[in-house]
């Protein structure tokens, strides 16, 4: 892997269907590795996928995939991308090995190579025993694995996976995630992962792109985003009438529970002792200060909903 290289570059992308703007001035890039593409339903993920695959001409902007212009060289781009759709997408009436082999032939593999590689990828995704059975009779998990095999058969440089762990039991999910990690780390593949299962994205991807209403809200390394959120603490206190007001004024109060428990965010430059100092000044006694673990969900919610700050009505709401 060459992390400095950009394999996907989207610049000022605007996709419009009639009067509806699906993607508006989206700009992001992706280095080799695994990257998550997150957004609510209707955020513009599908339109971005279509633009990357060269299936929809952008109204404005450009999309470069693996150094190719997706608009001009759509078929070439698609030959180098492995796409695993979210919906059930299998060639009807075929066995597993026939379906995967046919997918390979559609991607330009000669018949013999397609057949050989079909067996290999079906072994890889754990369908060795079932590969001669008709795909129509597969379980949901087996269909997911077949879709992944279809995406891998032609040795793509970039894999575009839409909800790859849908329908899998916990064991199967762990196996597939392990396989995907293996593809990234050992086989040098890059992944763009769309999933609503955020722990999957967090466990697999180093970077993430957050979309909402056709716009890129945030993008970057998940680690950096978590750091930028600052440290979060659950806090209980007694006394100190103005303590909550002061926390709010200083922008430290993140959330206030009905039971009086506070969620306080400390920016990287502030120390925990500053919190105790502030409490001391206002005659408040901190009774509980517990670090709160932040996850991708918090990044996502903050990006799409803004900071979860609920205004207080003054006075102390701490437990007495």
């Amino acid at each position: 892997m060459e992390p400095d290289r950009t394999i996907l570059e989207v610049n000022g992308l605007k996709v419009q269907y009639g009067s509806i703007v699906a993607v508006d001035q989206a700009t992001f890039s992706m280095a080799p590795g695994a990257c998550g593409l997150l957004g609510r339903n209707g955020a513009g993920k599908s339109s971005i996928i279509r633009a990357i695959l060269g299936l929809v001409p952008p109204r404005e902007g450009s999309v470069q995939v693996l150094g190719l212009d997706a608009r001009q060289e759509g078929p070439l781009v698609r030959d180098r991308i492995g796409y695993m759709p979210e919906k059930e997408a299998l060639f009807p009436g075929l066995t597993g090995v026939e379906a995967v082999s046919f997918a390979g032939r559609l991607s330009g593999l000669p018949p013999l190579a397609a057949k050989q590689r079909a067996h290999e990828v079906l072994f890889l995704v754990g369908l060795a025993e079932e590969r001669y059975r008709p795909v129509g009779g597969y379980s949901a998990g087996m269909k997911q694995r077949t879709k992944l095999a279809q995406a891998l058969i032609h040795d793509p440089d970039l894999l575009f996976l839409d909800e790859p762990t849908n329908g899998l039991d916990p064991e199967g999910r762990t196996e597939i995630l392990g396989l995907l990690r293996n593809l990234v780390e050992k086989k040098g593949k890059s992944l763009l992962l769309c999933s609503h299962i955020l722990p999957d994205v967090e466990g697999l991807c180093d970077n993430v792109i957050l979309l909402d209403e056709g716009k890129v809200l945030r993008q970057g390394a998940i680690h950096d985003m978590l750091s930028s959120l600052g440290r979060l603490f659950r806090l209980r206190y007694v006394g100190g009438e103005d303590f909550v007001g002061k926390l709010q004024t200083q922008g430290l109060l993140q959330e206030q529970g009905e039971d009086g428990e506070l969620l306080v965010r400390l920016p990287p430059e502030q120390k925990v002792s500053d919190l105790f100092g502030l409490a001391s000044q206002l005659n408040a006694q901190i009774r509980l200060l517990e670090p709160e673990k932040k996850s991708l969900l918090d990044i996502f919610l903050e990006a799409v909903q803004g900071p979860r700050l609920e205004p207080t009505e003054g006075g102390s709401h701490g437990p007495h």
Partner: protein, 302 residues
Amino acid sequence: MGLIEFGYRPYVGERSGVGPRIRAMFSLQIKRFFGKRLSLLFYIGCLFPAIIALVFVYIRFVVIEGQGELAGLRNLRGISRNNPNTLFGRSLEEISFYFTPYLTYAMPIAVMFSAIVGASTIPNDRNGGALELYFTRGIRPVHYFLGKWLGTFFLHLCLILFPYLLVWTIGIFLAPNWEFFKNTLPFIPRLILAQGLFCGGLSFLVLAQSVSTSSARFSVMRVVGGLFVFWVLARMLRRFFHENNFLVLSPWNVLKRVAEGIADVTASHTFDLGVAIWGLVALLALGGFWIAKHLKATKAVG
């Protein structure tokens, strides 16, 4: 189901162009049709008119002109000892013997076959999500349609043309001399061209109408119903207005008339070839428009 790393390797070979990919789609369609016992039985059942033609060839060259073994066939109406070239009013040495069966009395068989092999293929792909797989690979919707059309076209030929070419070939070998071959050879290229156009046009129209639905059953019903309704309507209007050109309203008649023009077969109650050609152009344009409107990658992907 344990995951086994079974030598997933980089692919270093050449990638093929569009042609082999279309060929893969074509061969898959043929394989899927002939690979199923039920569809094979259906196909054999649909060959009934061609089997009748083979019986005629047998009677003409083996029973009548062969050893004279007429036992059991003496009472068959139409077998003329004086004019053995004609059986039941049909001559093996005329193009109409090989050309007309599926376009006239066996039309329901041809329509049913066309609906089964052509009308369901794209809806099945759409319903199973396969359309998304096709369009996210290195092929365009036009290539996809071309692959499907070639498969459907070939299957139509397997019913409407190839069996009759086989009957003709068998006739050549059964005939006592080369007269039959010499008399029939001149019209064989016209037969191939005419049936090719008929099968190609029918395949195109059947597939084109199917691109807008994901229900194979609905698509089959639309083909059978549509062809039948327009065929009846055209005949009714022709009778009511005493104007043969009303027959152009039926796509079946249009294809048949143009094919008749190429085969140089004179049919009763026929209409202008020029009108039929314009009708065909209009149908193809309408089909093309329908395909462009409904077979879009953007609708299938994401």
